[in-house]
């Protein structure tokens, strides 16, 4: 593993962000809009329902957590797609970078991109809605970490698809998060789902993360088992995504996708 190469690929995307104000604006704009929108919705629910009576920030906190997941996953896909759109894909894959170095660099860059968008949005919640996500305490770190791993996992799975099937897989890249969102039980308890959907939800780490966020905010207690379950499922999916990425890379070498990627 060469940190010089990892840093080199990070620089390629860092330069891209720093050279373009609209890109920075884009990173900050959507999380801020999302948080503001859900802030007003949660204020409305807090005054009109009994479920959220004691936890004004539940929806807003879940919105922030979901947005972090969404930005991480989309951010990872964007880094990969950026190489395809700029027709730089072949240049990158003929450098002596190992697959592990490419993935590490993209994982770090995706985190930084997500944080650029998230931090201003989180800072806004306190003056606008009188809510601080930091109320989740030390467990907030574990919830974010878990979401980050799952976001990256989805990003790697989509990138594997791009490697295997080429740019035609791009539409899937945009839709994965929307497909999983209903099963993630982001804004509602898992009991809300039909029984069949609950079974699907229980094999995703998302449901444990959002159930635990609500549990901490509403019941003021911590169920470590939820956090543990989220990490176990994450470990499984993350490992599978890495295996699939290597498999897709080898398949792309057989099919010639790496040569025609920009076309």
């Amino acid at each position: 593993m060469s940190f010089t190469r990892i840093y080199g690929l990070f620089l390629r995307h860092f330069y891209l962000i720093t050279r373009s104000f609209p890109r920075v604006l884009d990173l900050v704009y959507w999380p801020t809009i999302q948080i503001t929108l859900w802030g007003f919705i949660s204020n409305f629910f807090a005054t009109h329902t009994t479920y959220y009576n004691n936890a004004v920030g539940v929806i807003l906190t879940c919105a922030i957590l979901y947005d972090f997941l969404f930005r991480t996953s989309i951010g990872f896909n964007m880094l990969f797609l950026e190489e395809i759109w700029s027709r730089n894909f072949t240049n990158l894959f003929i450098t002596p970078m190992k697959i592990g170095e490419i993935l590490t660099s993209l994982v770090i860059t995706a985190l930084i991109r997500s944080l650029i968008g998230l931090v201003p949005a989180v800072l806004l919640t306190s003056p606008l809605f009188g809510i601080s996500i930091l109320e989740l305490g030390i467990f907030l770190f574990f919830l974010f970490l878990s979401l980050y791993i799952f976001g990256i996992t989805l990003g790697i799975l989509v990138s594997s698809g791009l490697l295997r099937f080429g740019p035609s897989f791009e539409n899937i890249a945009w839709s994965t998060m929307f497909l999983l969102a209903p099963f993630g039980c982001i804004y509602y308890p898992i009991e809300t789902l039909p029984e069949v959907f609950q079974k699907i939800a229980y094999i995703l780490p998302l449901v444990y993360i959002f159930e635990e966020a609500r549990n901490i905010l509403i019941n003021q207690t911590v169920d470590v088992e939820n956090i543990y379950n989220a990490f176990i499922w994450n470990a499984l999916y993350f490992t599978l995504s890495i295996i699939l990425f290597y498999y897709s890379f080898n398949a792309a070498k057989n099919r010639g996708t790496l040569i025609n990627m920009g076309e």
Binding site: I94, K253, G256
Partner: protein, 245 residues
């Protein structure tokens, strides 16, 4: 003279389609080998296999005596590629692009290397320009700088002067001749520009339908086929049926 590229009976099939049908050739140190053939003859597939982007169905490739299958990373450190069909990130400045690729190739003394190539390729004044805003001639020289950033022992060129005006084309050809002579590198040149191939290449391979249908020095091929230049030889071979050769 040492062979820097050794290709032994490589084949590439896509399902039932045979893109490359068991070709073999060598490129020596300080040699430019021309790879000619009509579109779809297997040139790009061959280059893709040499770059490790494509896995041969069978056969072996050695670069500087290292087997590509087992030493992909070491080989990619000593090889580079330029093609009009791939580009550098358009939003970055020329210097940022060269700096990024210097890091990816772990170039030592990056500033000195960029300065050297900028001077040789006359791109000093372009270093702070946005890559996407350059003319095709300028982009070509920048891509060449990227292709030489790691001081490659082997350079693969796919249509390196396509869409360039005669002045820039001549500059690039002269540069390649001098650079090869100075650094004693091996160059595999795929081109449809026959005068370029005649000028630069010691010998050429003619490919058609995934096979090498003829090879030799440009002058020898012209004599052998009773034509006056390499373009006429190319046309004759391209239009003929493979079984004649």
């Amino acid at each position: 003279m040492k062979n820097l590229i050794e290709v032994k009976d490589i084949k590439k099939n896509y399902g039932k389609k045979e893109a490359v049908k068991g070709i073999s050739f060598n490129v020596q140190e300080n040699e430019i080998l021309g790879l000619l053939g009509p579109n779809g003859s297997g040139k790009t597939t061959t280059i893709g296999m040499l770059l490790g982007l494509l896995k041969p169905t069978s056969g072996q490739i050695f670069i500087n005596n290292l087997k590509l299958e087992n030493h992909r990373i070491e080989i990619l450190e000593m090889i580079n590629f330029i093609s009009p069909y791939i580009e550098l990130p358009k939003k970055l400045t020329v210097k940022q692009n060269l700096y990024v690729y210097s890091k990816l190739y772990k170039v030592k003394n990056i500033e000195k290397r960029i300065e050297y190539l900028s001077e040789k390729l006359r791109i000093e004044d372009l270093l702070d320009s946005i890559t996407g805003e350059l003319s095709s001639g300028q982009k070509n020289r920048v891509s060449l700088a990227k292709a030489l950033i790691n001081e490659p022992k082997v350079l693969l060129l796919d249509e390196p002067t396509a869409s360039l005006d005669p002045e820039v084309g001549d500059f690039v050809r002269t540069f390649l001749e001098e650079y090869k002579r100075e650094k004693k590198i091996s160059i595999l040149l795929a081109s449809h520009n026959m005068s370029e191939v005649t000028r630069l290449c010691k010998s050429v391979l003619m490919m058609k339908n995934g096979e090498i249908i003829d090879q030799g020095k440009p002058d020898d091929l012209i004599t052998k086929h009773g034509r006056t230049n390499l373009e006429e030889v190319f046309l004759k071979l391209s239009r003929s049926k493979s079984e004649f050769y």
